[in-house]
Amino acid sequence: MFTRKLTSLLAAAAVAAALGACSQPASSSTPTAGSEGSATITSSTKLTVVTHDSFALPDELKAKFAKESGLDVTYVAPGDGGALVNQLILTKDAPMGDVVFGIDNSFSGRAVDEGIITDYDSPALPATSKQFDTPDLTPIDFGDVCLNADSQWFAKEGIAVPTTLEDLVKPEYKDLLVVTNPASSSPGLSFLLATISAKGDDGYLDYWGQLVDNGVKVVQGWSDAYYTEFSGADGKGPRPLVVSYATSPAYTVTEDGSESTTVALLGTCFRQVEYAGVIAGAQNQKGAQEFIDFLLSEDVQSSIPETMYMYPVTDVALPAQWEKFAPLSEQSLTIEPDEISAGRDRWTKDWTAKVIG
């Protein structure tokens, strides 16, 4: 490790000296005993990390990485998950950074197909987390997008809390559900995928037709759904059922901490996994790999629940509230990334035509 670092430092210094006062990032190719089959990987003194706009890493951890790696790190966050992947595809010829975090399983198929990622198998990924692994990319965190119910509302009205997707089209649950637009919201897309996983490519549109008949409301984004439409959050909206996360009930705990006023419907969950990857054509592949290893370090993994509301992929302690109020779904719905990649645009277009018109 030390020698590798030294070599690259020397190489970088040599290049920097050669370039003189030029402000361009100094980059070079350093021969290493590559484990991925490629003989050389690039390295530089600068690292550009591209993330989705929900990425959050505490300052002290950012500082820690900068100190340990000796790299001058720039973080850019040009949009949500979908926009992020599309921007990387658009800039394939001249990549906008070295390492990406925030590609989830609904976009990973497309990212890999388009060749915007260079394969990297992080040694920091424990064997127990291999279940999340996917070619080229490294899993960092995961979570479940589930319907949430305002349990207080249901108790007051004397109606049973629904448990399955089938329940939602029953007359007693008319006009109670609010979802987000899959075209513009990632939980919305996840919930659409959940229905496709459950009802099949040929059945999901009929199911949505039934949801529409039963008064489902569609809003643009998650915060609008959760804060203004949902009755269980601060906004005290009119609808007691909402698309949100399995972890959301941990944020609606009563003051005495004994219970949560909302509950996630674990039979309606879609599993979301977020990945990091080395961007193809990166100026600093070595730094990119180090950053991915860092994301899997215990410090970062432990900070993920608090900062990004997701579950870490490695085995670290979870916040106490989560243990109690935010269990994961045992039977979350899934679809293979390639299948999502092939179907996503068609599904959202057909969904839009059916539900919004």
């Binding site: 361009q24 550009t48 993330t51 706009d53 929900s54 990425f55 959050a56 890493l57 505490p58 300052d59 950012k62 720039t74 973080y75 850019v76 966050a77 040009p78 949009g79 979908g82 926009a83 599309n86 921007q87 595809i89 658009l90 800039t91 010829d93 001249a94 906008m96 950074g97 637009n181 075209a183 513009s184 569609v218 809003v219 643009q220 984004g221 998650w222 915060s223 609008d224 959760y226 804060y227 203004t228 439409e229 959050a233 601060d234 906004g235 005290k236 909206g237 009119p238 959301s248 944020y251 900070s303 608090e306 900062t307 509301y309 645009d345 035509a353 919004i356």
Partner: protein, 567 residues
């Protein structure tokens, strides 16, 4: 003898050379902003749009036939035009009485009222959407009106923004309209209504039309309002371009839509520019005396009641409601939301405290303002030349028009254009913060030019000719006559540049980095995060941003020279 000839020759050269050098200086003065516009706007946008017309092998217009064979496109196009037309009509109807009252009547508190009317135009869309949302959403003051996600809410928000444009364009003309025309009509027996209809409105016609075409432009390209208040039901060309580009990466569809939008926008810009020029010319015919009279409730009751309604319900209520909401928590009055601005929000919503974002916004706005005003001064000086030949006039019209184009191109197109254009060598600025003030300056530039140019065009050509005839050099004319005129519009230009930059969200959200967000970016982010702390901070930060913007615009209105700016 030789010496005498030599001296004569020098004099000749100087006399012939001066205009030549002068002309060269003007070409350079025009080239600098033109280059800026080309590098940071025209080339990136063209680069992205042209990709949509190239399928890898050859040029194709397949995008057009594909997009326009979809009924959805026609629905969106129709909705965009229909909404913009309706909102424009409403702005004219509401704006004219306000313009009359604020520019034709004299009464105490008029300055304050003018500032209140001027502010909404530059408020950040994020803040306005939040303010209207908190009014109509469940628990809001006007919840009972059932306007959440309604068409009317969109129209109201569009009017909120744009009434000021009508008031501004028509007001300044109205205040200089020769009152004797109307008096003559009334002496001849015309009723006040008839006078208004047959004398005043026709005289104001070009100004109203110029303002209306601007409002139409702003309404047809509105993004944030439709996205936040429109829910999922309503899409405009602008939101559809965003969706096709960022979410589907369907560049063909996006390009076809962008070109369509550009056609619409250029049309209204051309109309507005031509009409604005006509007003400026016709203005010279009128006396520059103030035609104001003291407000008389008996006579001005109509304008007075419309203005009261517009100001209190349409303009003040949403903002006051926002401020009040930001000061309340769990049914109690508190400053907690403001105190929290020193934090990063609950559960790590932000990477930096909100005050840090305030500081970022401040320095970015300062830089953007310097860029926009420098470029704006150059553009205005060049565009206000009065060349005698047709070619010269045409190229100046094109120059002026080109700098208004950023108004009509979506931020997404510019942002994605940067990604594939500014990607190599010293121009690889994609992760550089420099792009933020540059992009904001581009957005502000049209407003800056519109604030400066009228002041220059209002110079009586006879004054310039007289100065030249009396032997002043071009440089002296510039320094003694034109620059002082320009300075009168400068306060307003600086105000617009600062306010636009402070509130800019579309392009900034693309370009800002998580550790260097601006205030609108932070507000947007806080709203997307769970927890009452974050929601309260978003309200407080919105109120703060609205106040700062209001102060900046208020100061600019004060600094504005009398009678400048007809736009």
């Amino acid at each position: 003898m030789d010496q005498g000839l030599d001296r004569e020759g020098h004099r000749l050269i100087r006399r012939l050379g001066a205009p030549l050098a002068g002309r060269a200086a003007w070409v350079v003065a025009g080239a600098v902003p033109a280059l800026f516009l080309a590098v940071f706007f025209l080339v990136p946008v063209a680069n992205l749009v042209l990709r949509g017309f190239h399928d890898g092998g050859s040029w194709t217009l397949a995008g057009f036939s594909e997009v326009f064979s979809a009924p959805r496109t026609w629905r969106i196009l129709w909705f965009t035009l229909y909404t913009a037309t309706l909102a424009t009509a409403a702005c004219v109807a509401l704006g004219l009485p306000v313009a009359y009252l604020l520019h034709r009547c004299r009464f105490p508190g008029r300055g304050l009222l003018r500032a209140i009317v001027a502010v909404p135009f530059v408020l950040p869309t994020v803040v306005v959407a939040v303010a209207f949302g908190s009014l109509f959403n469940p628990g809001g003051l006007l919840e009972f009106l059932q306007l959440k996600e309604s068409y009317l809410a969109i129209l109201l928000a569009l009017c909120f923004f744009n009434v000021a444009v009508i008031v501004r364009t028509t007001g300044s003309v109205w205040s200089r309209l020769d009152p004797r025309l109307g008096q003559a009509a009334q002496v001849l027996g015309a009723s006040p209504l008839r006078t208004l209809w047959t004398v005043t409105l026709p005289a104001l016609g070009p100004a109203i039309a110029a303002g209306a075409s601007l409002v139409f432009l702003f309404c047809s390209t509105s993004f944030g309002i439709i996205m936040v208040l429109g829910g999922v039901k309503y899409s405009t060309l602008e939101t559809e371009i965003w969706y096709q580009t960022t979410q589907l990466l369907d560049l063909r569809a996006a390009a076809a839509l962008s070109v369509t939008q550009l056609v619409i926008v250029s049309g209204s810009l051309l109309a507005s520019t031509a009409l604005q020029r006509r007003t400026q010319q016709s203005l010279r015919l009128h006396v520059d005396d103030s035609a104001e009279h003291p407000l008389s409730p008996a006579r001005d009751w109509f304008a007075l009641s419309v203005t009261t309604l517009v100001v209190s319900v349409l303009l003040v209520l949403p903002m006051a409601n926002l401020v009040i909401r930001s000061l309340r928590r769990d049914g109690q009055w508190t400053l907690q939301n403001y105190a929290n601005l020193a934090t990063t929000g609950s559960s790590g919503a932000l990477s930096v405290p909100v005050w840090q974002a305030v500081w970022n916004s401040a320095w970015i706005a300062a830089v953007a303002c310097v860029i926009a005003v420098t470029m704006g001064v150059l553009v205005s000086l060049v565009a206000s030349r009065r060349p005698r030949n047709r070619g010269g006039r045409l190229s100046l019209t094109l120059l002026e028009g080109a700098f208004l184009l950023p108004l009509g191109v979506s931020a997404v197109t510019v942002g994605f254009g940067y990604l594939i254009t500014l990607n190599r060598g010293p121009l690889d600025l994609r992760s550089s913060l420099v792009l933020i003030p540059i992009a904001q300056a581009l957005v502000a530039l049209p407003l800056v030019v519109r604030s400066l140019l009228p002041a220059l065009r209002a110079i009586d050509p006879r004054q310039l000719e007289a100065a030249r005839a009396l032997g002043s050099s071009g440089w002296q004319v510039l320094r003694r006559i034109e620059l002082p005129h320009l300075v009168r519009g400068l306060g307003l230009a600086v105000g617009f540049a600062l306010a636009t930059s402070l509130g800019e969200f579309g392009a900034t959200s693309f370009l800002s980095r998580p550790d260097n967000p601006t205030l609108p970016v932070v507000i947007y982010r806080l709203f997307g995060r769970p927890g009452p702390d974050n929601y309260g901070m978003a309200l407080a930060a919105s109120a703060l941003l609205a106040c700062v913007t209001a102060i900046v615009m208020g100061a600019a209105e004060q600094a504005r020279g009398k009678g400048v700016s007809t736009w």
